[in-house]
Symmetry: C2
Subunit: 400 residues, 2 copies
């Protein structure tokens, strides 16, 4: 009973600390008395918590504010760079890392190429990247947030399976945490992208949304009422490896017929390579050899109105659109945001995706749903991983 | 500011009342002092709330309990029949209503046939049903809970669209509430079925599950962490009208290619009628005429091992299974429960559904997911509607 009371006491302290920190973070300059008013905590409790935060350097005193009669109160604030966050995206051929401050501003970016599917090599590169980010520290590092493809148990930071790197039951979070002596939080890359979009895409805090990342792989992140929804098996939004009717293309996951084999960047490039030799009228046919066709060339061909390129693109868009129709019916969420490399195809792709999604879902639900291409840049996963870290460690929702 | 404080005060009273009522409902007999200990409220607050509940007749005094030294405390309990709940299922050809007590026991059942798609007629029959249920009242009626097919705004009790009865923007809850002077809560029938299964299916309180109702229509109810998930558009689980690739069968919703046109009871009966004339070896061929084939006959033919009947059934199961594979990938929930008329086909149908669901989802997620036929009887929607009513009105989760 004593230890239970002690635990409850510690919990209360933590909750109070987070309440105080949140009200300091949300205001640009605020006095202890004002924090007490905002949080409903006593002045003594607020003062105790603030003392701890001052000592830790997360909060600083700005000097006296306006007096309201008596002695002018000392104003407090959370400096933007009081802590630095390490955000990392594990991509298919690239590791991207950034030092992000408490306002989501990228202070430094480092990229390290990844080649092939060698999981051990990828871990070595990851160490290299973290080293390059944390070494010349301009501020104390709060921890590391990582977005990586695959099935991730976010609670423990374990990668249950990442097909691209052949990681299986890898305790990535624990391993890196021990090595660097820092808290580490790991999430699926699409989940991190959804957090990034939700945090920095100008959406209201409580909004629900589905963010679909369509690149070499395909995955979705689901935000319900402002919170990331992971599902019991941590695999929520795992739409890339859901079978599409009458499709028997082998997938890198070992199964056949997955959406990824029809709607990813790899799928459209491969399809264009298959068809180009038989389409002499296409600009893609003129390529030195069909195996030379890459995403850049396909994007260009679509923009130039090449029939073959557009046919390949629209076919892939139909499959994605039908899956989105299913998501609209299942989740009844009004905002779908598309991110990732496929969005480079722009308007023609988006139009075809929207048309098929609309056709595939109950009209009344589809009419209420917007499907848009995300307007944030390539740092979405990195920023989302940083946002995850900040929520988990400080109880703060990252905001600019 | 005064009115805000007043509102907060009333809110606090309501929360305290629910806390006290919950601890009384969860125990068979308990003293005021014990309630104070369980809720953390002061004895004075508990006594005040209990006085109100005694006066309203929701709580009764059982007499003195065991003394622990001083005066023996008076024990309290919530009598099982302190209030009666009206639970109603609007089916395709039948209205089913029941008087349910506070322990989910059905005290009385009334059925009224529905014919055709006449929405006005259905409303008249609904009045008739409610009249027959509330008139010879054995206990005060708490209110009415209704499960009905269609897109339902559960917050306002408005039927946005019910294709079977051609109800559009019908304020069903408000209308019945005014007429009967009782609180009325309305939910989609599959959502109500999910609440019913979650409440009475022997599942842990916080479990997540998808309940799929497969009958003349198809819909799912999603329970996440013990709470019904409705989605922003109230249409969560609306899988019956999601298009299946390369299917162009016209659906009663006005669209083409919906899952309902392939996997509902209507779909299999219709398909059997189409094929039977060309299958002289089938027992269905021998029917006096293919239009005479009905669900009963098809269930019998499958049980007898009739090839045509099994082919029709397994084809429908494959389509449903693929949709479930998509749900597993999207929601990552470990429990899928199938209910409704299609479950009469039993094992062969279930096996085919499971096989295709497993094939269609990422193996690691599918392996963790059980797909079972619900073991509760036909009153699932009625009980679920009563559970909804009880949660909304008393803040209690119905339990036996």
């Amino acid at each position: 009973m004593r230890s239970l009371q002690k635990a409850t006491h510690q919990q209360t302290r933590l909750i109070n600390q987070q309440l105080v920190l949140r009200s300091l973070y949300d205001q640009s300059a605020v006095s202890r008395a004002e924090v007490a008013r905002l949080t409903g905590l006593t002045r003594t409790t607020v003062s105790d918590v603030v003392d701890g935060l001052l000592e830790a350097g997360i909060v600083e005193e700005l000097g006296p504010g306006q007096s309201t009669g008596g002695k002018a109160p000392i104003l407090l604030r959370v400096p933007d760079d009081a802590r630095h966050l390490v955000g990392i995206e594990v991509g298919d051929s690239l590791l991207t890392g950034a030092i992000v401050n408490l306002r989501g501003e990228v202070r430094r970016r480092v990229e390290v190429p990844l080649d092939g599917r060698d999981g051990e090599m990828a871990l070595a590169r990851l160490d290299e990247l973290i080293g390059a980010l944390v070494e010349p520290a301009a501020a104390p590092i709060l921890g590391i947030g990582i977005g990586t493809p695959g099935l991730i148990d976010t609670t423990t930071g374990t990668v249950r399976w990442a097909v691209n790197l052949d990681w299986r039951d890898l305790p990535l979070g624990a391993r890196l945490s021990e090595q660097w002596g820092l808290p580490v939080h790991v999430a699926n890359d699409s989940h991190a992208a959804a957090l990034g979009e939700h945090t920095f895409g100008g959406h209201p805090p409580g909004e629900s949304m589905v963010v679909i990342k369509v690149g070499r792989g395909i995955g979705a992140g689901i935000v319900i009422g402002g919170q990331l929804y992971s599902g019991e098996g941590s695999g929520a939004g795992e739409i890339g490896h859901t079978a599409i009717a009458d499709n028997y293309r082998p997938c890198r996951c070992g199964s056949v017929g997955c959406l990824e084999t029809l709607a990813s960047t790899r799928a459209v490039v491969q399809r264009a390579r298959e068809l180009a030799p038989h389409a002499p009228e296409s600009s893609l046919h003129a390529s030195a050899g069909p195996e030379r066709i890459d995403l850049d060339e396909l994007v260009r061909a679509v923009a130039d109105g090449d029939d073959l390129a557009r046919e390949v693109l629209l076919d892939s868009a139909r499959h994605l659109g039908r899956t989105i129709g299913g998501l609209i019916g299942t989740l009844s969420i009004h905002h779908v945001v598309l991110v990732g490399e496929m969005t480079r195809f722009g308007e023609p792709w988006l139009t075809a995706v929207r048309r098929e999604a609309h056709r595939s879902a109950l009209a009344m639900l589809a009419d209420a749903t917007s499907i848009e291409i995300g307007r944030l840049g390539g740092d979405l996963v990195v920023l989302g991983a940083a946002a995850l870290l900040m929520t988990r460690e400080l109880g703060l929702a990252l905001s600019r």
